[in-house]
């Protein structure tokens, strides 16, 4: 662990620890959005006439789950 931090400090390392952090942070929202849309597709498959009633709920769930990934990429650029 300290070797990793040391490697990020020295000038010879190219790349950014921020981006590694973002990559790890994107796993959760990726799984979450997959689950949300799997539920939406299942619901539409079982009862197609409900598609327009389920759509706002799916969009809301997607935006809430994606918010964490987007906060990750934004803070990866902003924080040094």
């Amino acid at each position: 662990m300290s070797a990793l931090l040391l490697a990020a400090d020295t000038a010879t390392t190219k790349g950014s620890l921020n981006m590694i952090g973002y990559g790890l942070a994107a796993v959760g929202p990726g799984i979450g959005i997959g689950l949300i849309f799997a539920a939406y597709i299942n619901g539409t498959a079982r009862q197609p006439e409900l598609q327009s009633k389920l759509q706002p709920i799916a969009i809301l769930g997607f935006a809430l789950a994606e918010a964490l990934a987007i906060i990750g990429i934004a803070l990866a650029f902003v924080l040094k």
């Binding site: 969009i59 987007i70 990429i73 934004a74």
Partner: protein, 265 residues
């Protein structure tokens, strides 16, 4: 801004970063902090007001094209968002707020793609914080107005049907989640989406410029063309994200108001 040094290409490319979002002051040295972003905010408000007023001016029973478009836009928010989320009983009072909020955020977001303007105003975090603070004041004020302070506190922090011994753990958690963190995530969602999208567009555009004109090396020209094409595609993605973020902001505002108005059990 970070210096990028790639093997085979001269180390001259400066990747875009948060400093690119700090626009210069218009009245230089006049102690007035007015930037392009503040002007765009006012311009968006003017556009929304003028467009809606112009669309309802004919007031014909059988609407013409522009009036029909305005009515469709209005009823999209009123029926799809306000009536469905807040419910038949109380939704009418909040329709002006939700309609103006949706179109205000939408126009501000779309400024990111319009040729000469090319700056989504909510990529500056302060504007998003202000709007989220307004939403926070509104939904808390509405809740306290209907239920009183203690009733509203009970509504937000003590959900029905939980056993008594879990309440000491649940009350701080619910308070944190419903009252303290909601404005933070609301503003950060809008800000971060606009910031990341604009940063991507900047990266592809400046990257294409650098690769096509200034860089030397074997694969530079095709890479430049590829970067340009990807930039256009990301522009289309940006359009979807901008409309979606405006919709989600308004949807969440309506949802928070509905949650504050909900009947206690």
């Amino acid at each position: 801004m970070t210096q990028v040094s790639l093997d085979g290409i001269a180390a001259g490319f400066v990747a875009p970063g948060p400093a690119d979002f700090q626009l210069p002051d218009i009245f230089n040295g006049n102690q007035v902090l007015l930037t392009k972003a503040s002007l765009l905010l006012v311009l968006a408000a003017i556009i929304v007001v003028v467009a809606f007023r112009a669309s309802i001016r004919p007031a014909a029973v059988v609407p013409g094209k522009f009036q029909f478009a305005g009515e469709q836009a209005y009823s999209f928010v009123r029926d799809g968002i306000a009536r469905d989320i807040i419910g038949e009983r109380d939704y009418a009072k909040y329709v002006p707020l939700l309609v103006s909020m949706f179109f205000f955020v939408l126009v501000n977001n779309l400024f990111g793609l319009i040729p000469i303007i090319q700056f989504p105003t909510f990529s500056r975090a302060g504007f998003a914080y202000g709007l989220a603070a307004l939403v926070w004041l509104i939904y808390n004020g509405v809740g306290i107005g209907r239920h009183g302070v203690s009733g509203y506190f009970k509504l937000q922090t003590m959900p029905a049907g939980v056993p008594w011994w879990i309440l000491p753990l649940l009350i701080p958690l619910e308070f944190l989640s419903n009252i303290l963190i909601r404005p933070v995530t609301l503003s950060l969602r809008l800000f971060a989406n606009m910031f990341a999208g604009h940063l991507l567009l900047l990266l592809f555009a400046t990257g294409a410029d650098y690769l096509l004109i200034h860089a030397t090396g074997p694969l530079v020209k095709p890479a430049g063309v590829l970067s340009f094409v990807l930039g256009v595609l990301v522009g289309f993605l940006e359009l979807v994200v901008e409309v979606l973020q405006a919709y989600v902001f308004t949807l969440l505002t309506a949802s928070y108001i509905a949650g504050a108005l909900a009947d206690t059990h």
